[in-house]
């Protein structure tokens, strides 16, 4: 990665983190509930009354109730983990491969420049 690109990536990462965390510090006391829930209450508002979903999630049928918040976050973490795992694995391989390639190229150039040595 060239120096400029490296700098660009670092700046972008910082912007991303700030952007993600900014609302948390800006809106103290906000609940940060999902926009899904907001969507559902909008459905209620439009239909003018309580809308009863006609189907409940399979998992909630199996465990007879709502998925506990902690378990839900666990499952979300599993999803993130699977994704990050794959990305990290592939990126690790690619980065190392590039290093090896660069080393080999450098060696070959060396040989060309000093054929005797």
């Amino acid at each position: 990665m060239s120096k400029n690109k490296k700098r660009a990536v670092i700046i972008l990462i910082i912007i991303a983190i700030v952007l993600a965390l900014f609302p948390l510090f800006m809106l103290k006391g906000a609940k940060f509930s999902g926009s899904d829930d907001a969507g559902s209450s909008m459905v209620n508002e439009i239909t003018g009354g309580d809308y009863h979903p006609w189907f409940t999630p399979v998992l909630e049928q199996v465990i007879h109730g709502e998925l506990p918040g902690e378990i839900e976050s666990l499952l979300f973490c599993v999803q993130t983990g699977i994704g990050v795992g794959i990305i990290a694995f592939i990126m690790g391989r690619l980065v190392e491969r590039k290093k090896q390639e660069d080393m080999r190229n450098a060696e070959e150039n060396n040989k060309k420049e000093h054929p005797a040595g």
């Binding site: 809106l27 926009s35 899904d36 969507g39 439009i46 999630p57 999803q79």
Partner: protein
């Protein structure tokens, strides 16, 4: 970076139309609309893999990117949470139809295990997140290339607009099923957009930035794979198509 954001907010639901919230006929209709796209997507993935087995690397990367981004619920300026789609990257690398397959895998995962989204609303959610969004992303990306917009700006715009559009389509899907008494579908669209759009806007920017970062990384470390997948390197060496 990702792990940092992971700590952000493991609170309740976000986006996708929830289980049981669409009347049955709409569920079926959206499902049917999705089928041809899924078949196209399956074929295009099959073709890519037949061309070269090694395309699996980038394909896995694009899939994993959707996995990660759609699992991270980020707080937004409106005081509620939502998550990104992550479909822009796949659309840019493999074209929009391939993403429909990657997207539906994530949606099924979330619907079954997380009670997030839903099996009955799978068709509608697939259409908005895995079909409409990526197709627009891809269109914007191609357009930006044609207009010779800076490549990274193009990628950013493509992911950004694709993300926003996903929520526009979601709003429309909900509005179709729940037209307002006064004003009908149009008024409902505006109401639902009012819920989703302001929340999603900063997240879409975030998605654009993350997509640019990952493409920068791939350009540095995975040049040969990108060429194989037919990625356009913006004027440099694009003899390989």
């Amino acid at each position: 970076m990702v792990s940092l954001m992971l700590g952000v907010s493991p609170a309740v639901n976000a986006m996708h139309i929830m289980e049981g919230y669409l009347p049955a006929k709409y569920c079926i209709a959206w499902g049917i609309i999705c089928v041809p796209f899924l078949i196209l997507g399956y074929r295009s993935i099959q073709k890519k893999l037949k061309e070269n087995r090694k395309n699996i690397t980038l394909l896995a990367m694009a899939g994993a990117f959707i996995f990660v981004l759609s699992s991270l619920k980020i707080p937004s300026v409106t005081g509620s949470c939502s998550h990104m789609t992550g479909t822009g990257l796949g659309a840019i690398l493999f074209g929009p139809s391939a993403v429909s397959i990657l997207g539906i895998i994530v949606l099924i995962f979330q619907a079954v295990l997380l009670a997030h989204g839903g099996l009955t609303t799978l068709g509608a959610n697939t259409f908005s997140m895995a079909i409409a969004g990526p197709f627009l992303s891809y269109g914007i990306y191609v357009l930006c290339n044609k207009l010779k917009v800076n490549r990274y700006v193009g990628i950013f715009l493509s992911a950004f607009i694709g993300d926003i559009f996903t929520y526009c389509v979601t709003s429309y899907e909900l509005a179709l099923a729940y037209p307002s008494k006064e004003g009908g579908v149009g008024a409902s669209v505006i109401k639902f957009l009012g819920v989703y759009a302001p929340t999603q806007l900063p997240l879409a920017v975030l998605e654009g930035i993350l997509t640019v970062i990952i493409i920068m990384a791939l350009e540095t470390y995975a040049r040969s794979e990108l060429k194989m997948a037919g990625f356009y390197f913006g004027g440099q060496k694009n003899e390989q198509k």
